[in-house]
Symmetry: C3
Subunit: 139 residues, 3 copies
């Protein structure tokens, strides 16, 4: 009866500085054999569009420094976001949800999303998962 | 002895893109019969001033796109923030707190707040509620 | 066997408006006899560099208003961040962690950090603490 611990993250941000913690936590959690549930909503939904993770920038005026930050990330041997996603996927306990309301709001079609998306759900479905989780974060 | 599950959200942001998730989560939680506790602090306090919810904008330079976003929200049939608040209120398990320290800091008087505010409390009181909650978020 | 309740905060932001809630929650938590664990990552790491807390500004264009906000904070008799940190430290149940990956990324050396830092750890170590915490927040 050794149930897996669970982490639920609401990913509201679409900027690179926030997506890195999301996927660093997700990959750490997967390596620790947690169930990891990521719900991408509002700006976060952009990260689930094809090319979205690679195109994420630093916020506001700092966006000009995105290339330099990517260089530092590479130098520190931190994998790119798409690679972190792939690693999480291979470890196998990650679920990725796109927020249905945001898809309507931003007029995003299902075929625009990356194939790693497991499901398109509303806030109620995700909240139900979060209620049972050991860690919940809004990023 | 079936105790209600509880969600506690610290609302630090006052921008429209963050207030929507707050009230979408609050209304989903209310519909799921959770106790929902919202603590408005720092920029978030503006949302509790009369006209504050209607006046909330997108952050930074994106504030110019606020009207367009409101149009999309309307088209997607998502209710305005004030209507979401009213809906939560009618479902009845929502408590709204204004942060007492922020009120001093921003020089906000009690009579400037909307009548939906249940109480003006400090961080310690809210933290005590959060310790018992099943979901805690900082937005 | 009355175990202390625990709060774990991931401090991702380095701006003054976010660092205040971090240290207000930390000092409230310490006063309530909680164990408080703060993990400083990404922009948050700047707050752990010598002079970092005093140098923190409001975000983006609002940074111009930092001095005015500091004046209001002083008028409201809220202690400066460095004083809040000292108060937490004296109450004694606070642990401060610097994110090891961020240190590499931002090229920060251990000797640049304030002496209040207890340890330099990775996300996995902190996640393990957070899994056991009663309150977890990402700020």
């Amino acid at each position: 009866m050794n149930e897996r611990k669970k982490m639920a993250i609401i990913v509201h941000s679409g900027t690179m500085d926030k997506l890195y913690p999301v996927f660093m936590l997700a990959s750490s959690g997967s390596a620790m054999d947690l169930e990891v549930h990521l719900f991408f909503t509002f700006w976060g939904l952009n990260a689930l569009k094809r090319g979205g993770l690679d195109g994420a920038k630093l916020p506001g005026l700092m966006s000009l420094g995105t290339g330099m930050m990517k260089g530092r990330i590479r130098d520190a041997k931190v994998p790119p976001l798409t690679e972190l996603l792939r690693m999480c996927r291979e470890m196998g306990n990650l679920k990725i949800y796109a927020c249905s309301t945001t898809m309507e709001l931003m007029n995003v079609k299902e075929e625009e999303l990356i194939p790693e998306v497991d499901d398109i759900v509303g806030a109620t479905v995700f909240l139900d998962i979060a209620l049972d989780a050991d860690v919940q974060l809004f990023i």
